[in-house]
């Protein structure tokens, strides 16, 4: 499997158009009809997923955009980047996101 240390991989959420969501008072229940699985996501995870659904990004780009959106301070960025990496790993494992195959950077590796 793609190691999380490959910073050049662009992630996207090809199944996002089909996701079904319900709000459970601050927790999102999300059903992916492709896998048949149901996941419970907190707000941060949900935001990460939505950002990838809008635009394919590398882990670094994602962490940067998220930090800007949350107005993160310098000392919080490392923690945020770590959280992003963990979330991407989990999302990849359960199939909510995938590496984008037509990416010229990815093909070179």
């Amino acid at each position: 499997m793609i190691s999380m240390t490959r910073p050049d991989i662009r992630w996207h959420a090809p199944g996002s158009a089909g996701f079904i969501r319900r709000d459970l008072a601050g927790v999102a229940a999300l059903h992916d009809p492709r896998s048949g699985e149901t996941h419970l996501l907190d707000l941060l995870s949900l935001r990460i997923l939505d950002m990838l659904a809008d635009k394919a990004q590398t882990a670094g780009e994602l962490a940067e955009n998220l930090a800007r959106e949350l107005d993160a301070r310098a000392e919080e960025r490392a923690g945020l980047a770590h959280r992003v990496a963990e979330t991407l790993h989990e999302f990849d494992r359960i199939g909510l996101i995938a590496p984008r195959a037509d990416d010229p950077v990815a093909r070179q590796s």
């Binding site: 079904i20 459970l24 008072a25 149901t38 419970l40």
Partner: protein, 340 residues
């Protein structure tokens, strides 16, 4: 054959228990004293139909066609299912069940009974012929749990009052059956003690009032309230101990086609050493607990997700810790007043 990864769903455990009860425990059963069952009203036509394999009876939405070879099993069946409606031959059959000896020899020598349902990979194993009724019950559990996918099913007891239903999910042995049985004979309408049937299109619960299985001490506790004539003979030395069946009240059978809308989701736990209390469940927790009590949500995919989310949105959910049956029943009543 469907293969499933990960375990832990309540219904998978129920299947394990079903398989347990099927194991041929010759020695234990051979030692059990034979208790003569109460004589049911004589019906030669019914007995003949059971022998022929032409007996058709209906429980809620499911119509079974049954062949039952053992004389004692037939007596048990007629004693316990005698009040259930039959249906005409032009109504399509849901479950074909033949419970018969595995060979000509085993008809006479250490007579046994084996369930055949026409389904490959079914976990049926031979049982002593006298326990044919138990084989029938566990076979029907298995058939419903694995094939009735027009319904969203939960491993739960369901009772209703004034058209509003309370669903009580829980593993067998957590006291759920006793609580359900107690409510069923105290003015609540029994929908089911084992299988909650939810129609995804309408969000309503539909009755599936099987005879309620009671174990060990629960038998006497319920017999006291229901009357001994509503309880079957005791089946001794089964893998779960002593088992008996409560015949559902007449009203539950008469209204078996009348659904109810859900109002309350309760997760009861029998804790005699603790203080009785309730804990309201937050939406995410309630969703997760309810979903994990579902038997076939994985098979129903998106339909199940939406139906469970809707169910959880329209009901309130509580954990209920109670110390004795009366207390539990009172608490259920009070909660229902609160929400309905």
């Amino acid at each position: 054959m469907q293969r499933h990864g990960g375990g832990g769903r309540p219904w998978e455990k129920s299947l394990g228990e079903t398989a347990e009860i099927q194991r041929d425990d010759h020695a234990a059963v051979a030692q059990a004293p034979r208790v003569a069952p109460p004589r049911p009203p004589v019906s030669d036509a019914a007995d003949a139909a059971l022998r022929r394999g032409d007996f058709r009876f209906r429980i809620g939405p499911f119509a079974t066609r049954l062949a039952l070879s053992s004389p004692l099993a037939r007596r048990d069946f007629r004693a316990i299912y005698g009040e259930y409606p039959q249906y005409p031959a032009d109504r399509a059959v849901d479950f074909h069940l033949r419970i018969a000896p595995t060979s000509l020899l085993r008809r006479w020598v250490r007579p046994n009974a084996m369930v055949q349902a026409g389904i490959g990979n079914a976990p049926f194993v031979p049982l002593p012929a006298d326990l044919g009724f138990l084989a029938l019950e566990s076979a029907m559990n298995w058939m419903v749990a694995t094939t009735a996918d027009a319904w969203l099913m939960f491993h739960a007891g369901v009772v209703a009052r004034k058209g509003r239903a309370v669903m009580m999910p829980g593993l067998s042995g957590a006291g759920k059956s006793t609580l359900t049985a107690g409510l069923a004979v105290s003015g609540w309408r029994l929908f089911s003690d084992e299988f909650a049937l939810l129609r995804p299109e309408t969000g309503l619960f539909h009755p599936y009032p099987r005879p309620v299985s009671l174990k060990n001490r629960s038998i006497d506790i319920i017999a006291e309230r229901a009357g001994a004539d509503r309880i079957s003979r005791r089946f001794l030395k089964t893998p779960k101990g002593t088992v008996a069946y409560l015949k559902p009240p007449e009203e539950a059978l008469r209204l078996m086609d009348v659904p109810a809308s859900p109002a309350l989701l309760l997760f009861p736990e029998y804790r005699p050493e603790e203080r009785a209390r309730i804990e309201e469940l937050r939406p995410a927790e309630l969703f997760a607990l309810t979903r994990s009590a579902s038997i076939n949500c994985d098979r129903l995919g998106e339909t199940a997700f939406t139906a469970i989310a809707d169910l959880v949105a329209r009901c309130r959910g509580f954990r209920l810790f109670y110390g004795n049956l009366d207390q539990g029943m009172t608490m259920v009543g009070e909660l229902m007043e609160r929400v309905a």
